[in-house]
Amino acid sequence: MIRFFSLFKSLYLRSGWIFFKCVSPLLMGAVLALTAVQPLTVNAAAGEFSFRAFNESDPVHSESGGAVNLSETYRPNQITIDSVSVDQLGHVDYFYTMFFDINVPISIYGALGGDSGYWDLRYSLLYTPSYVFNYEYKGFPYEIYNESGIRVDVHTDQLNFRITSSGENRLTEEISSRYYLSSSANSNSYISNYNINFKFQVSGMSRNHYPTGYVTLNLNNMRIVKNFARLVSAGNIPQLIKEVDKSIDEGNQAAADRWEEDRFDAEEAGSDMTGFASQLDNLKNTWSILWYPIEFTNRFIQVFVGGTSAAAYQDEFAYITGYTYNDETGFLEPIMSRSVQPASAGTGITFPAFSLMGYQIWDSYTYDLSQVKDQLPVVFDALYVIISILEMLWFVGYLRKKYEEVFG
């Protein structure tokens, strides 16, 4: 038993290796990467995949129980998979979705008479991805038409869905339905062709692990087997990848052309703007004396309001302790210091050191006036009230004066 599983595992791995050789993961990754950027669905050409339904024991005749021996009148027909599409699902690096659109044309000989008949359709999906995640299955036959294109009145009362087995590397699901043909819809047909169409999707599979299994259809014991792996690897995917690669190349080329054109336009515009900006700079430099009063007023107001703690003041006068007159240049040159912070020096009053006949009477001493405010808060509050009243009186008088000035 162990040897059997080892053999199976070896065969499985070898088939997987061949499979990945046929479908390059890199190319598939390119497709999925493209779909990550822009949702994309690639579709195979209709009829590209086809196989014949067969019955292993008796391809033509097979008995089955039921009200109508549909199996006796069943003629194997070609089953076509109209389209297989690949689409992204969630994170494209890990998962994708495959959509299958399968048609099963069948021919029924013999009149159904006035009684209703039924047949059983059961199909199962077996695939063996190495990793199954977030498996989702949707599939149902939903429309049946006769050869004239008239939809046949079909209904089903059985729709079973079950997982027959599951495991780490294998998952088998089966769905079965019983379909009824009503007498009114097909009472006089002797030979009828029907087309069973059903769609299903398998999603949530790893991009590197395509479903390698079978779709098995059982139509009254008429087994129809579709190799899942061949559907993916030997068919349309490489061709689709080529088409997508081609579209990617074309898109890249178009984007490169657009980028080159935009760059050229931007360079031209930038050149024009540079010239214009240069002219503006020249104009500003040659006319700087005209708006210097405005600039000076702005600086003065900022310092007047904020004092030494104003940002503009600290940016401009950081580490400057004073100014000294230079006789040679005629400039007032700043005295720089790396240790004095101007913000803390604004309220300080420095008493210089005093020396007499070589003896230093007292040392230099700096007193911070702001300490007075903290030491005598009541006095300063009273002072603020008095000054506020005086300022308000001044302002009222100012308004009165301006009123008289304007209105007489």
Binding site: Q279, N282, L283, T286, W287, S288, I289, L290, Y292, F296, R299, F300, V303, F304, V305, G307, T308, S309, A310, Y313, E316, F317, I320, G322, Y323, T329, G330, F331, L332, E333, P334, P342, A345, G346, T347, I349, L369, S370, V372, K373, F380, L383, Y384, I387, S388, E391, M392, W394, F395, Y398, L399, K402, E405, V406
Partner: protein, 90 residues
């Protein structure tokens, strides 16, 4: 069309003249003196704001400046209106 050409030519001439005009730069000595003035104002104003209520003072000064601007604007408008004989403003 002719009007636009004339207006454009006038604008071009004005712009050309403005670009040609070059004002002298501010003397470096004056600039250094003004910098020193700003510096000492900053040093002094800290002491002022110890004894003077800053908020109400700044507010009233701003209002006073605004009133001054309004008055000047009013006077300017009236000066123009007085130039119009039909307005009858003396």
């Amino acid at each position: 069309m002719v009007q636009f050409i004339i207006i454009g030519a006038i604008i071009a001439i004005i712009v050309a003249y403005l670009l040609v005009i070059t004002f002298p730069e501010l003397a470096p000595a004056v600039e250094s003196a003004l910098d020193a003035l700003i510096f000492y104002v900053g040093q002094a104003i800290d002491i002022v704001w110890i004894f003077v209520p800053k908020t109400i003072t700044i507010t009233l000064m701003s209002l006073a400046v605004a009133v001054e601007v309004v008055v000047l604007g009013y006077k300017f408008v009236m000066w123009i209106l007085r130039k119009i004989p039909t307005a009858g403003i003396s």
